[in-house]
Symmetry: C2
Subunit: 109 residues, 2 copies
DNA sequence: TAATTATATTGCAATATTACGATTAATTAA
DNA sequence: TTAATTAATCGTAATATTGCAATATAATTA
């Protein structure tokens, strides 16, 4: 089939999966890191910094934006991207929840 | 082309991307949650609990195992899966590093 | 307005993912 | 050894992702 059966999972599980998928690519991890360090937040700068073509970077930025993780501000002829604080915090919280729910000692096997 | 240019990224970025991709699916999130709560750790139990066919669950388990996030122990005729503590802790650390590197005030735009 | 600069979109080829029926392999029980 | 039980693998169809050249769009400057 090739299509994820989202209807059998909770909204939380689906949302977490979508946001994780957004950051589950080395280029998008690198983009987030560059944006956070503010070494680059302009598509063109990211493109030359990463060594990926401009349309490719634009597409990655779009996916991060679709997941709500970044936001773009028009700055003259270019667009400056930065982290969307709410979503970033929210994803951090959800991940903390997941990871902290595991205690070493409750292994069942 | 359809293939990720892993060679232009660091090993850390690539490894993080691989592990995130492994958990970036609602079924695999659900599987991890069930394993952690030890409500189910057997492929068949997970299958009926999730409402996904056995081969599908088996494939998801394989991907989590390939990413090093879970391990399987043969228990008679079935296999019991549980979290691989080292990798789990490592991924948690890497994510904490990424998320904590962002400070609200260093927005550049 | 026309030229310039930068980003977004389109279209496409190559590859990867998702899901599952059918089958095979492995282990235990009779 | 045979039957039963469970998990893994194979094969396949449907869909999604990745990367980029070509092009379109938007904003600024001359």
């Amino acid at each position: 089939m090739g299509i994820t059966k989202t209807e059998i999972f909770t909204d939380e599980q689906n949302k977490l999966a979508v946001q994780l998928k957004a950051i589950a690519h080395p280029a998008r991890i690198a983009i987030l890191q560059l944006i956070i360090e503010a070494k680059a937040c302009i598509c063109g700068d990211l493109s030359s910094e990463l060594g990926l073509a401009q349309p490719t970077v634009s597409q990655h930025l779009k996916e991060l934006k679709n997941a709500g993780l970044i936001q773009g501000t028009i700055e003259g002829v270019s667009v400056c991207y930065c982290i969307e604080p709410e979503a970033w915090k929210n994803l951090n919280d959800e991940l903390n929840k997941l990871f902290s729910s595991y205690k070493d000692f409750n292994n069942c096997c």
